[in-house]
Symmetry: C2
Subunit: 345 residues, 2 copies
């Protein structure tokens, strides 16, 4: 990590890639936002900020949602907006207590589309066990937005058993993934008609809090790090971990679950499933001595039946993610570069 407080972002203009969640996003955040907004911080940026108010340990987070199209198999922007914020709190080690929602609406938007998304948010909030406590609405001229953008912020209560920090990660710790990757990103691509294929694929959007709860109960402080690998995919989340903890992440390719259709679509497009966005998957780093209990707990949680160890933490290669193949080869896998699938969430 270079000196805090120094602006290192040199791009003259904002480009789509700066919002893709990959390398360019990290350059924008670390190089421009963080030096101005958090000049004295050397903490890795997490999914949610934790603070103490009158003795209560709370967490707060926010995300904007600009997914296109607004509705797609398995979900819609309103459902993502609830699950995304609940999940950011969950993987930071907090249970969402209340959400607030702000809408930027494009003039001319059909009321029935808006109503459907408000209903989707209400249903998702009920499913995640969180209250929607308030909000705001702005309207911009036709052509100054794309239907609607939704921003949710959530406040949560820290789960006392957990102590999540990349600084606690050590060589030998195990990397767990909840299930098949890439479903969300490829579903969005299909919904846009950018691949002329019919497939029975759905977004995996869902709350990951049940996994966090199950792990907290089963292995508590044995959990070192958690993440929901959304924009930029599993590869980007694990590269961030590698940078934040200064260690290496070594994945076993054959253990990473990918549906055949997603794998095929990625091959067609020249993309790696490890770079494709998910909305309901869950990554955790757990100490080796507790990994069996952790897996058992996840397997017993609805939706976690396919959870598996996909790799482990190693001292070398430091700050790097490596995928080893069944044939004995290995390749370095970087964060997402560029923005092959814009506006995925």
């Amino acid at each position: 990590m270079t000196a805090p407080g120094k602006i290192r972002f040199r791009d003259a203009r904002v480009e789509m890639a700066h919002g893709a969640g990959g390398k360019a996003s990290r350059r924008l955040i670390d190089g421009l936002f963080a030096p101005i907004l958090f000049p004295s911080s050397t903490d890795p940026l997490g999914d949610a900020a934790h603070l103490s108010i009158d003795g209560a340990r709370i967490a707060i987070t926010t995300d904007s949602f600009v997914v296109r199209p607004l509705k797609f198999p398995g979900g819609s922007i309103g459902e993502l907006a609830v699950n995304g914020t609940v999940n950011d709190l969950a993987v930071s080690g907090a249970r969402a207590e209340a959400l607030v929602v702000s809408y930027v609406l494009e003039a001319g938007l059909a009321t029935e589309i808006l109503e459907a998304e408000i209903r989707a948010m209400s249903a998702a909030a009920a499913r995640a066990g969180v209250a929607i406590a308030g909000g705001d609405t702005k309207v911009v001229e036709h052509g100054k937005a794309d239907g609607m953008y939704i921003t949710t912020a959530g406040v949560g209560r820290a789960i006392p058993e957990l102590e999540i920090s990349p600084r606690r990660v050590q060589p030998g710790d195990q990397v767990i993934l909840s299930g098949p990757i890439g479903d969300h990103g490829i579903t969005i691509l299909l919904a846009r008609g950018e691949l002329d294929i019919d497939a029975d694929l759905r977004s995996d959007t869902r709350p990951v809090l049940p996994f966090v709860d199950a792990l907290a109960k089963a292995v508590g402080g044995g959990i070192k790090w958690m993440r929901d690998p959304t924009r930029g995919g599993v590869a980007t989340s694990l590269n961030e971990l590698a940078l934040d903890c200064g260690l290496g992440v070594v994945l076993a390719e054959e253990k990473i679950p990918v549906r055949d259709f997603v794998r095929g679509a990625c091959e067609l497009l020249g993309l790696d499933p490890l770079h494709i966005a998910n909305e309901g998957q869950f990554l955790a780093v757990v100490s080796a001595d507790r990994v069996d209990r952790a897996l058992e707990a996840l397997h017993a949680t609805p939706g976690g039946e396919c959870a598996a160890v996909i790799g482990e933490i190693a001292a070398e290669p430091a700050r790097t993610v490596v995928v080893s193949t069944a044939y004995g080869g290995a390749r370095v896998i970087d964060m997402l570069v560029g923005d092959p699938l814009p506006r995925i969430c």
Copy 2:
């Protein structure tokens, strides 16, 4: 208030007026959002939601900012985004503890414009004594936003001396206003070049927390209701109060401070200064027996020197705001109707 849970919003499409903060906004919120998101609530919607976490009384709020142009005399979108959220917490009776910020950026936005707004947010947060704790950035294609939209959410600590609710408002209570109205709205209009006049006018954007603090200390529970009259102006805020408490608000026109230039511009445009947006003004309803102490406290607070009683609460006309003139006349003043000044914040 009609039965909760029933959708009464019948407009087929979203229009600019639905975001103006006036009558159409209230129809959208009360008729569509509230019945789906808060089906069982009969509470008036406040500027922030209050909840209890592990015994701590906290407040949470969010607002999106879409002001055009991004920069104007006296402020900019980043400064509004901080002050607006800090102020929503303040008038709900809470001190902002942390903000999170989410940006929707238009591809092609010049980095120097973005950097200026991040700096404006940082400076405004320092001025308001609040930390920016985290955030998110999305990028949409050129032509799918207007430079940038910013959404801030804030979590605050309830100020223990205060018990703010329109239900505590009674006939005889006094209405206090902090200073001259309409500066922000007319400044934006001038900045857009929509009036071919040069004027030395600036947005009044500022944190109103010092006023809340001063009042809390001086008269505590004597404060019944507070609001920062932004979109829709003083008239809309007081009409909301009248509806929420079921009483009348009787204003004395000659006591309402309006700068000559703002009054002149409003006359030219056929607008009432009471409908023009402010960003740093403060309205409070205080019990009559404490109003002198309240005014004294505000006058001793920097920026509150012009605070004045502008009217009082009356049993009749119920659910209505009336302005009495120096000549003995009186007129009913409604919420803002339509959207004469779109994207004011």
